[in-house]
């Protein structure tokens, strides 16, 4: 079984039937900012972008390399994503797939990285406004954090594995700022209960959860694209008003709880302590009657 988690970005692209890279590593478009910090560069600045075929559809895709700088977004990396998204407005693929594995803004490029992530966010929403669905896949060991955790929730559909995480601030940052009592970053089980795939699936922040295999992600991506194309792709006032209500309810129902498993119990799950141990099939079955956003 080919693990999505263990695969690098280029290996994950094997979920497509074919892939043609835009601005490949041979062009050596590297970061202009890393040398001043004595940090090595990567010839693709940690992201592969291009045009792919998937189940007969032409799609655009990007895969972030979590191994390089934690997949974080620097000036060139961000520009590759923005270029891909802006080109999608011209070529109109069936969908744009973002294989995210990232800590967010690349701190080594600070200001340039922050503006870059903002441009990615705008560009993702422009693609949606053009009626082209955006699907995000999350399953790498670095998860999708920071500003890219925000970008992820700008997509039409998110697919995650149990190993994946989706959040804003990393647990270490929270622990450093507010103490180990606030968030013990070494408590892996707590980290996954708080930010991991199963919790996000139960909350309704991701729409599909799959086992850690490239074929599983491929199938889920195909399903997600088909489903997205069948509905409203662009943002609507009604849709956002509904999301507003959902997010208000979330605070009302769960804002007073300290432990994610208490949220699962509040949802109606009989044995929340068992959730982390369930395999994906057992989990999705157990979650089905109770998960939000179904």
């Amino acid at each position: 079984m080919s693990s999505y988690l263990e695969a690098n970005a280029r290996e994950r692209l094997s979920l497509f039937d074919s892939f043609e890279e835009f601005i490949g590593p041979a062009q050596r478009v590297v970061s202009p900012h890393l040398a001043q910090l004595n940090a090595p560069v990567s010839f693709d600045d940690g992201v592969v972008v291009g045009r792919a075929t998937l189940g007969g559809l032409t799609v655009f895709a990007a895969a972030q390399e979590g191994g390089f700088m934690g997949g974080a977004v620097g000036e060139v990396h961000g520009a590759k994503l923005v270029g891909l998204l802006r080109r999608a407005l011209l070529e109109r693929p069936a969908a744009v797939l973002l294989l995210l594995e990232t800590g967010g803004v690349r701190l080594h490029e600070a200001n340039a990285g922050l503006i870059a992530v903002s441009e990615v966010m705008r560009a993702v929403l422009d693609v949606r406004a053009a009626g082209i669905p955006v699907v995000v896949l999350i399953g790498g060991s670095n998860g999708a954090f920071g500003g890219m955790g925000i970008v992820a929730r700008c997509a039409n559909c998110l697919v995650i594995s149990e190993e994946g995480r989706l959040a804003m601030s990393g647990p270490e940052v929270i622990e450093t700022a507010n103490g180990v009592e606030e968030f013990d970053s070494r408590d892996r089980a707590l980290v996954w209960r708080t930010t991991g795939g199963k919790h996000r699936y139960l909350l309704g922040d991701v729409q599909r959860i799959v086992e850690d295999s490239i074929p599983s992600f491929r199938q889920a991506a195909l399903d997600a694209i088909a489903e997205a194309r069948g509905g409203a792709v662009e943002l609507t006032l009604a849709g956002l008003e509904a999301e507003q209500a959902m997010l208000e309810q979330r605070i009302e129902r769960f804002g007073g709880l300290r432990e994610p498993a208490d949220i699962w119990a509040a949802l109606g799950i009989a044995a929340p302590q068992d959730i982390p141990m369930l395999d994906i099939d057992a989990f999705t079955t157990a979650a089905a009657p109770y998960r939000l956003g179904a």
């Binding site: 601005i23 062009q27 478009v29 202009p32 910090l37 972008v49 060139v76 961000g78 520009a79 923005v82 270029g83 891909l84 802006r86 701190l107 080594h108 490029e109 600070a110 200001n111 340039a112 503006i115 903002s118 441009e119 966010m121 705008r122 929403l125 422009d126 406004a129 920071g146 500003g147 955790g149 925000i150 992820a152 929730r153 700008c154 989706l166 959040a167 804003m168 601030s169 270490e172 940052v173 929270i174 450093t176 606030e182 968030f183 708080t194 919790h199 922040d205 943002l235 609507t236 006032l237 956002l240 008003e241 999301e243 507003q244 997010l247 208000e248 979330r250 605070i251 769960f254 804002g255």
Partner: protein, 238 residues
């Protein structure tokens, strides 16, 4: 800067902005038209509640006042760093605010952001940076993260980062750097009301920031890469 002093300078025609737990909301007059004012003060940490309050105000503007311009006032220390916010999915709340602003823009509302004091990272990326254009006062501080935390995460010695933050545009927290990089449209001095009126009238429809970064010389790699991908060619160095 005290938000009330700012508001009086921005809206000599009058406003009814109130503050509620660091959340600013109200209506103001600019050049004879009404605008919605939404924002934060007190270097507010952006947690789930305040992100939602801002989003609610944006949606109310779109629902009840089609076409009304929106002014976002930014003063934040960044996202709130609490387990509870992560558990509830603060990234979703932030994305929601960003989406609401984007919807407003697409439906014809001009949206202008102004950093009048501090702007950090997550607190900024889904408000000011989602506007048609973002501006700042000369004394504003805009940064990604405090240097000690940055040093810990990047493993770059803090002394090195301090040195870079003094003069290197990538690290220095002044609005001049964001201006040069294209992140800000302009820095406002003098007649704030006039500049706001102008900003609303001239709000760009498309994201010009990468082009501005190249034009102004602060961010020279991004635009050529974007153009090369769009055009299917090799990257031409700036």
């Amino acid at each position: 800067m005290d938000w009330k002093v700012l508001a009086n300078a921005l809206f000599p025609g009058g406003h009814d902005i109130v503050e509620s737990e660091q959340f600013l909301n109200g209506t103001a007059r600019v050049d004879g038209q009404s605008v919605s004012v939404i924002g934060t003060t007190g270097h507010a940490p952006i947690g789930v509640e305040i992100a939602l309050a801002q989003a609610k105000a944006v949606l109310a503007t779109v629902r009840n006042h089609p076409g009304r311009p929106i002014v976002l006032l930014v003063d934040t220390q960044g996202q709130r760093l609490r387990h509870r916010d992560e558990m509830l999915g603060i990234n979703s709340y932030m994305a929601h605010l960003g989406k609401c602003i984007d919807l407003a823009r697409h439906l014809g509302h001009r949206v202008v952001g102004l950093v009048y004091d501090q702007a950090l990272s997550g607190g900024f990326i889904t408000s000011g940076l989602m506007a048609d254009a973002c501006y700042a006062l000369p004394d504003a501080t805009i940064r990604v993260m405090g240097l000690p935390a940055m040093a810990r995460i990047t493993k770059v010695p803090e002394e090195k980062l301090v040195e870079l933050a003094r003069s290197n545009p990538v690290f220095a927290p002044g609005p001049e750097n964001y201006l040069r990089m294209g992140g800000l449209q302009a820095i406002w001095e003098g007649d704030l009301a006039a500049q706001l009126a102008h900003a609303i009238a001239e709000a760009p429809r498309e994201d010009q920031r990468s082009a501005l970064g190249l034009l102004r010389g602060g961010r020279k790699a991004a635009q050529p890469v974007i153009e090369a991908i769009i055009g299917g060619s090799n990257v031409r160095a700036a």
